[in-house]
Assembly symmetry: C2
Homo-oligomer: 313 residues x 2
């Protein structure tokens, strides 16, 4: 048997990380790489489970540590801090992504990133460039990822390229993204049976940049109050992680998908950086960030700029 | 007037860095970005001058420091250490490359790298994907870059993708690459009127990786003896650079384009790393590396591995 090439997204996988792994597996196989295999680096969240149920598909297999010299393809991330454990000793063949670049590897590889709203949009372009058919299921997986990452095209990360992809994919999938996407997002906001520890880990990303180690966690909600009435429990969960991982600070953002803003809790020694980053006053460890919904475009860059006072190339 | 978007390759530009800047300028303009402008970060070498003379074209304008917030597109490199001065404060819109990745930027961008022999091969694919016509001149610029980077398809960096591009481009350009490419390479090996300082700087790249600062310089030649009879002068020039730039070591490789091997001079405190990297004994600061012609694929990775004892992601 030929050795497998594992395809996976970031830890605490969101819908884009899971579905883009599956879409990339299909593309690689169509291009002749029969040993390509989508896997996942963490649990499937409720939003993604909604997509899998809708399509009657199984989630990719869960993996732990990857083996030395394992051949891998990264989707929806490039930063080792967000990748599978032992990624430092894997052989990265390709990266398909839409994030900022924080990557060092000593041999050339296929690296494709575009400043668009979603990895699935880049994959949509790859399918077209390679003239590979996009089936109904693949189109629905792509649409789900785009709806998730762009909050149904409402996030400022949304580009014309994403909108164009959605127009074409809606026809193939026979799906109205507005209706389907909102149902999907709402399924993802159900945290009624979650502990605060579980909520902050639904979509938490670790960053090790500008000589700081920090997390930005994000959860979508249609009801901010239901979260902040338990603020002290969330703070306890966050402080536990800060201690356990020796973090310089932790930003937890509850993003209101109805009103398109985010209320944050910021803790840790360097927590005051958020005041400089967002031009807000932090009161009782919280602040409201108006019109801020995107971690990638509206949270991480101002935080890095505040840490650096400039852009690091 | 709209502000310019500057397109440039690495310092000490080789033929790929110069011609790919020009080819990318044309692509951007065809795609509607009329303010795209190819420039260069250093002198045109004799090989590249042969290409420009053949096509009766002017070299791109020479630039020095770039301004804060200048919008730029990088071709044929991504590492800040090899880029224009003040690149840290520029706004990088796109990267088109075929090298290992050593890049950090805090906002998403278009990043396209492929493990192929030449940036021009990636550009050839982009023209096809975007369905932009490749004119006779553009095809000749691309062929020149490929012939230069792959030593007329003889370097181990050559891939099937490069060979396929050459087949198509030869038809468009009406050019036999073997004949044209060897004439071009030979024009590049004429160092009769160069000082040793000038020779080592024809194609010298600075690397700051694995906590070391070093240069690997390369010069093509059809006559190794003509270089090594002046070894002491070369050593003086190299030692001057080591002192001036505070380098940990310096590898100068004279690559015999006829017999496809490289004779190196290695100097500096960490110079012994080449023994471990290449499994050779260094005698009088020199060693012969049989079948080694590619800095990217055959020199840099073993040096980094020897420094690290593993691959850094």
């Amino acid at each position: 048997m030929e050795k497998e090439v594992l395809i996976f997204g970031h830890k605490n996988p969101d819908t884009d990380s899971i579905t883009s792994s599956m879409v990339m597996e299909n593309l690689e196989r169509e291009l002749g790489n029969k040993n390509a295999k989508a896997v996942r680096t963490g649990d499937v969240n409720k939003e993604t489970q909604f997509v899998l149920n809708y399509l009657d598909m199984e989630a990719p297999e869960l993996i732990g540590n990857i083996n030395d010299n394992q051949e891998v393809i990264l989707v929806d991330h490039n930063d080792a801090a967000q990748s599978a454990d032992n990624i430092e000793h894997a052989k990265v063949l390709k990266v398909i992504d839409h994030h900022a670049v924080n990557f060092t590897i000593s041999s050339p590889l296929y690296y494709r990133a575009e400043p668009v709203g979603c990895t699935a949009t880049v994959l949509y372009e790859l399918y077209n460039e390679k003239r590979i058919e996009i089936t109904n299921k693949i189109a629905t997986l792509m649409l789900s990822a785009i709806a998730s990452d762009t909050l149904v095209l409402k996030s400022p990360t949304t580009t014309e390229v994403d909108k164009n992809a959605v127009r074409m994919l809606e026809k193939i999938a026979g799906l109205d993204l507005t209706k389907y996407g909102v149902d999907m997002l709402k399924a993802g906001t159900d945290i009624s049976d979650f502990t605060p520890e579980q909520v902050i880990n639904i979509d938490s990303k670790l960053f090790e940049q500008s000589n700081k180690k920090f997390r930005i966690a994000q959860v979508n909600t249609a009801d901010l109050d239901s979260i902040f009435k338990n603020q002290s429990y969330f703070e306890q969960a966050i402080n536990n992680d800060i201690q356990k991982e020796n973090l310089d600070f932790y930003v937890f953002a509850a993003t209101d998908i109805i009103n398109s803003n985010s209320k944050i809790i910021s803790l840790g020694n360097d927590a005051p950086v958020v005041e400089k980053a967002f031009g807000v006053s932090v009161d009782n460890h919280t602040a409201m960030l108006e019109n801020v919904v995107s971690r990638k475009k509206q949270m991480l860059p101002p935080i890095l700029d505040a840490l650096n006072n400039n852009i690091n190339l």
